[in-house]
C-alpha cells in the first residue's frame, strides 16, 4: 500500500471559544430534543397535566384559589415551574449522569473545549429547551382561557433563578451518584414534586407545618412566586426570589466542588 502524505501534517489548535461553545450548545440541544424519554418529561407530561387538571375537576381547587380566577390561572404558573424542574433538574441530571458514565465528559475533557465551556453549552441547551417549553405551554394555557398578568421581567427573573437552582441540584446529582441512581432519583423527585411541590395541588391543602417546609423547596418557591406575579399581578416576590437565590448559590457551589468527571 502506498502512503499518502501531507494530510496529517500537524496544525493543532482550538477553535475560537465562541465557536466551540456554540457548537457544544447546538449538539447538546439536539441531543435533548432527540431523546424520546426527555420529550415525554419536558413536553408531554407538563402539557397533559395542564390540559387534564385545567379541564377536569380532579383536584379540588379550594374556594380561595378559585376566587382568584379560572383554574388555569392557578395551574399555568405551576406547570411553568414544572417545566423548569423537568429540563433543568430531571432531564439535565439524567443526561449528564449517563454522559459521565459513558465517558463523554471524560472524552470532552481532553478536547480544546474548556470544562466551563462545556457547562456553558449545557446551560444554553437547557435555556433553548425551556424557551420552547414555555412557548408550547403558554399556547396551551392561553387556549384553555389563561389570562396572565404582572410584569414579564419579574417572570423571566424568577424562571432564570429557578433554572440556576435546579441546574445546580441536577448537576450535583449527576456528578456524584451512579447514572442508574441518578435516573431513579431524578424521576422520583419529579413525580413527588408534581404533587407536593405546589404545582397542581394548592399548598393550602397541606397542614401548616408541612406547608412551611414545602415552601422552601425550589420548585414550590418558583411556582408560588410565578403565581404571585402571573395570577395576582403582584410585584417581584422577594421571599421566593430569595429562596431560589439561596438554592442556586448553594447547589452550584456544591456541584462545582463535588462534581466528578469520570
Amino acid at each position: 500500500m502506498t502512503l499518502t502524505t501531507g494530510r496529517h501534517t500537524p496544525r493543532p489548535g482550538g477553535a475560537p471559544l465562541a465557536r466551540m461553545i456554540a457548537a457544544q450548545a447546538g449538539l447538546e440541544t439536539r441531543m435533548l430534543l432527540r431523546h424520546g424519554e426527555q420529550l415525554l418529561l419536558t413536553a408531554v407530561i407538563p402539557t397533559l397535566l395542564l390540559v387534564l387538571f385545567g379541564a377536569v375537576d380532579i383536584i379540588d381547587v379550594s374556594a380561595e384559589e378559585r376566587a382568584g380566577g379560572e383554574r388555569v390561572d392557578f395551574l399555568a404558573p405551576g406547570i411553568l415551574a414544572l417545566a423548569v424542574l423537568s429540563t433543568a433538574f430531571t432531564g439535565q441530571a439524567i443526561a449528564t449522569g449517563f454522559e459521565r458514565r459513558y465517558g463523554v465528559l471524560k472524552r470532552l475533557a481532553v478536547s480544546p473545549l474548556p470544562r466551563w465551556g462545556l457547562m456553558c453549552g449545557k446551560t444554553c441547551a437547557v435555556l433553548v429547551t425551556l424557551a420552547l417549553q414555555t412557548a408550547l405551554l403558554t399556547a396551551v394555557a392561553l387556549a384553555l382561557g389563561w389570562s396572565p398578568r404582572g410584569n414579564p421581567l419579574a417572570v423571566a427573573v424568577l424562571m432564570l433563578l429557578g433554572t440556576a437552582a435546579m441546574s445546580g441540584l441536577g448537576l450535583l446529582m449527576a456528578g456524584t451518584l451512579r447514572a442508574e441512581a441518578t435516573l431513579a432519583a431524578a424521576n422520583l423527585v419529579f413525580v413527588l414534586l408534581v404533587f407536593f411541590g405546589g404545582v397542581v395541588v394548592p399548598l393550602d391543602d397541606f397542614p401548616a407545618t408541612v406547608r412551611d417546609v414545602l415552601e422552601l423547596l425550589p420548585v414550590t418557591a418558583l411556582a408560588e412566586g410565578l403565581r404571585e406575579v402571573l395570577r395576582d399581578g403582584g410585584p417581584m416576590p422577594w421571599p421566593q426570589a430569595g429562596v431560589l437565590t439561596a438554592w442556586a448559590a448553594a447547589s452550584l457551589a456544591a456541584a462545582a466542588r463535588f462534581f466528578r468527571w469520570e
Binding site: G6, R7, H8, G103, K106, V110, P112, E262
Partner: protein, 311 residues
C-alpha cells in the same frame, strides 16, 4: 517562548501513581522522541492505561517528573489539550449522537481540522454515518474513536488499544493511518497487547509490567536480546558438522539434535540461509524441510512477563 520541538514528545521519569493501597505505576520511565511511534506493551493490569491517562492530564502523578510536548499535563492542560489527540479505550461518545455528527462536532472544536468526508471514507464509516452511536458495532465504534483522535490535526496522538476487536481489514486501515501519521511527523503513543502490532508499527517499544518499564528498545533490538533465531533442515544423518560450522558466519552454531535433523542458531537471515544451502549443494545434500524461526516480540514478551494468565 519555549523552543518548540526541542524537547521530546513525552518525557516521564520515576512516575508513581497509587490508587488507595494499590500502586498502579511504580517508578516508570518513558521517553518518546518527536515524530516516532512508541508502543507501550504489557499484560492486562500492567499500568498501560494509567500511564497514558497521566500523559493526557486526567490525573496528577503522586511522584516523578512528567512533561508532554514540554508541558505539565495537569497544570498546563489548557495549553496542551488542543495539541493532542486522544482515543480512549471505551467510547466517550453520546449514545444518541450519529457517527458523522460527532465527528463533525469534534472537528468544529478545532481551528484547522481534517476534511471530515475524506476521513469518513478512509476509515470506512460512510455506511454508518447516520447511525446513532449506541447502534454501531464494536469495530465501527473503534474506528470512530480513532477518527475523533486525529481530526484536530494534533502533534501527538494517544491511542489506547486502537485495534482491539477489529476485523483484519479494519486493523490494516488503522495501521495504515498510523503509518501516515508518522510520515507526516505526528508522534503516536499507542498501547497494545498485540505483538505483531507493536512490531509492525512502532519505532520503539516499552514493555511494561507491574507499573514499571521492564524492557525497551526497537522491536529488532528487543528480539535480538531475547535469544537467538533458529534455522532447521533435514538431510541424511551424520553430515560433517565440523565442515558445516567452518562455512557458517561467526556466531553461528550447528548441531544434529536427532539423526538427520539439523539445527543452526545465529543471526538467521538471507545470508545464513544462502550459506547453508550452498554448503549442502557442495556436499550433495538435498536439504529438506528447511524452516527458519525468528525470535518474535511475543517470545520476548512472554519471557519477560511470564506465561501465567493475568486476571
Amino acid at each position: 517562548m519555549r523552543n518548540a520541538g526541542a524537547e521530546p514528545a513525552v518525557e516521564a521519569l520515576g512516575l508513581v501513581k497509587r490508587y488507595g493501597r494499590t500502586t498502579a505505576i511504580d517508578g516508570l520511565d518513558l521517553t518518546v522522541a518527536r515524530g516516532t511511534v512508541a508502543a507501550v506493551l504489557g499484560p492486562n493490569g500492567a499500568g498501560k492505561t494509567t500511564t497514558i491517562e497521566l500523559c493526557e492530564g486526567y490525573r496528577a502523578p503522586d511522584a516523578g517528573h512528567l512533561r508532554v510536548l514540554g508541558l505539565d499535563p495537569v497544570t498546563e492542560g489548557p495549553a496542551l489539550r488542543p495539541r493532542i489527540g486522544v482515543m480512549l479505550q471505551d467510547g466517550g461518545v453520546y449514545p444518541g449522537v450519529r457517527a458523522e455528527e460527532m465527528l463533525r462536532h469534534v472537528a468544529r472544536l478545532h481551528a484547522h481540522p481534517l476534511d471530515v468526508d475524506d476521513l469518513i471514507e478512509r476509515l470506512g464509516l460512510g455506511s454508518c454515518g447516520r447511525t446513532p452511536y449506541r447502534r454501531l458495532s464494536g469495530g465501527q465504534r473503534q474506528r470512530l474513536a480513532l477518527a475523533l483522535a486525529v481530526v484536530g490535526r494534533p502533534e501527538l496522538v494517544f491511542l489506547d488499544e486502537p485495534t482491539a476487536g477489529l476485523d483484519p481489514q479494519a486493523r490494516h486501515a488503522t495501521w495504515q493511518l498510523v503509518r501516515e501519521l508518522r510520515a507526516d511527523g505526528v508522534t503516536t503513543v499507542l498501547t497494545t497487547h498485540l505483538m505483531d502490532e507493536a512490531e509492525e508499527l512502532s519505532d520503539d517499544v516499552a514493555i511494561v509490567d507491574s507499573g514499571r518499564v521492564i524492557a525497551r528498545g526497537t522491536p529488532a533490538d528487543l528480539c535480538r536480546g531475547g535469544g537467538s533465531d533458529v534455522l532447521r533442515f533435514s538431510g541424511r544423518p551424520g553430515l560433517d558438522l565440523i565442515s558445516l560450522r567452518a562455512a557458517l558466519p561467526l556466531g553461528s552454531e550447528a548441531s544434529e539434535p536427532s539423526p538427520g535433523s539439523y539445527r543452526i542458531t545465529g543471526d538467521v537471515g538471507p545470508r545464513l540461509l544462502a550459506t547453508v544451502t550452498a554448503w549442502c549443494a557442495q556436499h550433495g545434500v538435498l536439504a529438506d524441510r528447511i524452516t527458519t524461526q525468528r525470535h518474535t516480540l511475543e517470545d520476548v514478551f512472554l519471557e519477560l512477563t511470564g506465561k501465567e494468565l493475568r486476571s
